[in-house]
């Protein structure tokens, strides 16, 4: 049973370049969302401190740096895993984001899996869970609603 969000998109670049742009340019392509803020002071300017011991941080307007999460896997051109904690999470709550980069012809399929609480491997985070029916409903809704909307938006 899984409580997770999963999305995928195809982009016009090879996996190595896509990985580099995803990590290196996140400050340029990240778009703050008024409905989903990382901190109460907004999203700030995101950046990856690269490498397997790195982290994802954001520099806020007031000069403070907020750590969104540590990097758990750093495999250039292939895979990236990091902890995702919004400021509103309590200290023992955590989620995890896995980004995969797979070659499709001369393009790349980028997929995002945002795993919540009960689906995070135990060595990474405390156990927290969504009730199973929420998840089941999400899984069923996902292809229908989200990907449909995403496809429409991208044309």
């Amino acid at each position: 049973m899984t409580s997770k969000v999963f999305l995928a998109i195809r982009v016009p670049a090879d996996p190595v370049r896509t990985f580099d742009a995803f990590t290196g340019d996140i400050g340029a392509w990240w778009r703050p969302d008024p409905l989903f803020q990382i901190t109460p002071h907004g999203d700030g300017a995101l950046s990856f401190e690269p490498g397997p011991d790195g982290r994802l941080v954001t520099r806020l307007g007031n000069g403070e740096t907020f750590e969104i999460g540590r990097i758990l896997a750093w495999e250039p051109g292939r895979r990236l895993v990091f902890v995702w904690r919004q400021a509103s999470f309590s200290p023992d709550q955590s989620t995890e984001v896995e980004v995969r980069f797979e070659p499709v012809g001369d393009e790349t399929r980028v997929s995002i899996e945002h795993r919540a609480w009960d689906t995070i491997p135990q060595e990474h985070a405390a156990r927290h869970g969504f009730p199973e029916h929420v998840t089941l409903q999400r899984a069923a809704d996902w292809w229908r609603v989200s990907m449909g909307a995403l496809r429409q938006r991208l044309g």
């Binding site: 016009p12 742009a21 999470f89 156990r127 969504f130």
Partner: protein, 110 residues
């Protein structure tokens, strides 16, 4: 959705027994004793879990119409809605971010 309410909900659901109780209450309201039996937990342990679930706003307590000594527990629909909201918002956020990332790559290729 209040972030603190969601935190409390998630903390209450951190325990597998409490998640099981929530799953059971999804089907129908239960008496505390029946919940203890269904989960193979001692009654005092179940009482503690029910108290946590009540304080988190996930379940509510009623007295049995026929016997006021008996308490009936049921799921509060609003609490579940918050969790769904969080997942839906996360979904929508990444859809936006991926679309923006793709646009960024297309722009920088030119």
């Amino acid at each position: 959705m209040s972030a603190r309410d969601l935190d409390r909900t998630l903390a209450a659901l951190a325990d597998p027994h409490r998640r099981r109780v929530v799953d059971l209450l999804r089907e129908k309201p239960y008496r505390a004793g029946d919940l203890a039996q269904a989960t193979h937990l001692p009654f005092p342990t179940m009482s503690r879990h029910l108290k946590t679930l009540r304080q988190s706003g996930l379940v509510e307590e009623d007295r049995d119409a026929l016997d006021s000594r008996v308490r009936i527990y049921r799921l509060k629909a609003e609490a579940m809605a918050e969790l769904k909201t969080w997942l839906a918002e996360t979904d929508a956020m990444w859809a936006r971010q991926l679309a923006s990332f793709k646009a960024h790559l297309q722009k920088s290729r030119k």
